[in-house]
Structures are given as structure tokens and as C-alpha cells.
């Protein structure tokens, strides 16, 4: 499968929409990443911190977004991955992952990437540079 190479500027990878965010998703990520900040798992702590309730780890969303590129590791790899965290992800939010090819050079594919919520607001946004093997 050599699909990334065939992509033209302005074209997108197929969006992926995640299941509604669950507490178990965040407990699993806390365990797997070692980030036990309680605002991601315990309601009382989140509220004490001035939040409306527990929120997802920004890195959970960033980790999810990278999977749009996972099928293409035979073609190349993610050389640069830059994200700005723009909004909170709350329980039951439905997150959609998107990547659009902005431009390409001989070896590098420059993507604009984002994860948006059910209201269409970007919660994280950034860029991926995918480096292709020759």
C-alpha cells in the first residue's frame, strides 16, 4: 500500500471518529503513560482545580491523532509532530481526527492535523511532517 505518495496537496486522509470519551479511556492512558494527574480521572480533584469535570490528557488526544499515519510506516515515518492544545476534551465528547496534505517536497509530506469535538471546535491543532523513505 503506497497511498500517502499518491496524495495531492489539499487532499485529506480519511477522518476517524472516536467512540465517546469514557473514564476508562483516561484511566488506561494514565496507567500506560504514567501521568496520574488526578484532574484526568477523579471528579472532585478536577472540580477543585476549577474545571467543569475531568478532562482528557492533552497527550491522549495527541496520541490518538497520530494513528491516522500508522498504516503508512512502510513508506516513511513521522519526523516532526507539533501540536497546540486549544480546548478541553470532556467525558462523552466525540472526537474526530483529521489530516490534510498542505504541500509536499521530494521527501517530505507536510500535513495540517487537528482533532475536533462534536461541536466542530478544534481541541488540538498542529502539523505533521511525514518523511518518506526512498
Amino acid at each position: 500500500m503506497n497511498q500517502l505518495t499518491l496524495l495531492e496537496a489539499g487532499e485529506s486522509l480519511e477522518n476517524v471518529t472516536l467512540s465517546p470519551v469514557s473514564r476508562l479511556d483516561l484511566i488506561k492512558y494514565a496507567g500506560a503513560s504514567g501521568d496520574y494527574n488526578p484532574i484526568h480521572t477523579i471528579d472532585e480533584e478536577a472540580i477543585k482545580a476549577g474545571l467543569p469535570g475531568i478532562i482528557a490528557h492533552g497527550m491522549w488526544t495527541m496520541g490518538n491523532l497520530a494513528k491516522l499515519f500508522t498504516p503508512y510506516y512502510e513508506e516513511g515515518f513521522i519526523q516532526d509532530y507539533k501540536i497546540r492544545f486549544q480546548g478541553m476534551v470532556r467525558l462523552d465528547d466525540v472526537i474526530t481526527l483529521q489530516a490534510t496534505l498542505a504541500n509536499k517536497t521530494d521527501q517530505h509530506l507536510h500535513f495540517d492535523v487537528a482533532a475536533s469535538n462534536q461541536e466542530g471546535k478544534d481541541v488540538i491543532k498542529g502539523t505533521v511532517v511525514f518523511s518518506q523513505y526512498e
Binding site: G31, A32, K67, Q79, R84, F85, Y133
Partner: protein, 149 residues
């Protein structure tokens, strides 16, 4: 407030890209692709092995930067950047360390905020760079006040 730690680094810590940790991490981001988890797929891939997802370096131990004491709560993660020379290979050993790249303060909507730029490094045992991770941590005025007490 933290300007005195700019340039300080931690002592490198040896880490292993553990197979079990990679699988658990891949599962936690809903990305149980065989390139990360299936030994046979790894062997037949161009890497001759399994690789780790790009945000996996969160798992590593980077050591402690002396004099950098941050509160466990109240920090805001503003930006995150990974740079790779190549993917991380399952089973390999890497040396990891962290550095305070910058610290500055700005007036914002909610008072004076601190911006801390941390950079983390992963190198192979010969000292060749594999990845860097840069993190912008925002320290709000409320948290800064607590830190100054």
C-alpha cells in the same frame, strides 16, 4: 521566578523501549496496529522489528533537573513538539535526559503567567540522537503565587 534554571540539564537515564509498555501504550490510544504489537509483522517490516508510537516517549524516565521544582497540580500543557531521526525500535536501549530551554513571563487575561520550555532528548547508546520532545508548560498566576510561598 524560574529564570535561574534555564540551561540546566538532568543526568541521562538509561531506558528500554519495553514490548509490554509499547503494547499497553498503543492500546491506551486506540492504536493496536500489528506494526507496534505483532512480532511477526515487525520481523517482516522494513524495521525488522516492532516500533513504538510517536508519542510513546512520555513513558521514559528523563531524570531530575536540579532546582526545578514544579507543583504536581495546576500546570497547563500549552504545546508539544516531537522530532524524530527515525522511529523507536522495540527492545532498544536509549539514554534520556531533559533540559530547561527557556522561561519567561507574560501578562495575560488571568494575570502574570510563566512559560516554561522543557526539551527532552533520547539518544542511542553511542550518543546518536533519536528523538527530541519540546513541551511548553504554562504556569498560571495562582500557581506561581503558591510556588513563591
Amino acid at each position: 521566578m524560574l529564570a535561574h534554571v534555564i540551561g540546566k540539564k538532568s543526568k541521562p537515564v538509561k531506558n528500554v523501549v519495553e514490548r509490554g509498555a509499547v503494547k499497553k501504550f498503543a492500546e491506551s490510544i486506540g492504536d493496536l496496529h500489528p506494526i507496534f504489537t505483532c512480532e511477526e509483522t515487525g520481523k517482516q517490516s522494513m524495521y525488522n522489528n516492532n516500533i513504538a508510537p510517536p508519542t510513546f516517549p512520555r513513558v521514559f524516565d528523563y531524570g531530575t533537573i536540579e532546582e526545578l521544582e514544579l507543583p504536581a497540580k495546576g500546570l497547563i500543557h500549552g504545546e508539544e513538539t516531537f522530532h524524530y531521526e527515525r522511529p523507536l525500535i522495540v527492545g532498544e536501549e536509549i539514554n534520556c535526559y531533559a533540559e530547561v530551554k527557556d522561561y519567561y513571563e507574560r501578562k495575560g487575561k488571568s494575570g502574570e503567567m510563566g512559560f516554561l520550555l522543557l526539551k527532552r532528548y533520547g539518544e542511542d547508546l553511542e550518543g546518536n540522537l533519536i528523538f527530541t520532545e519540546e513541551q511548553v508548560v504554562i504556569i498560571t498566576e495562582a500557581v506561581r503565587k503558591e510556588m513563591m510561598v
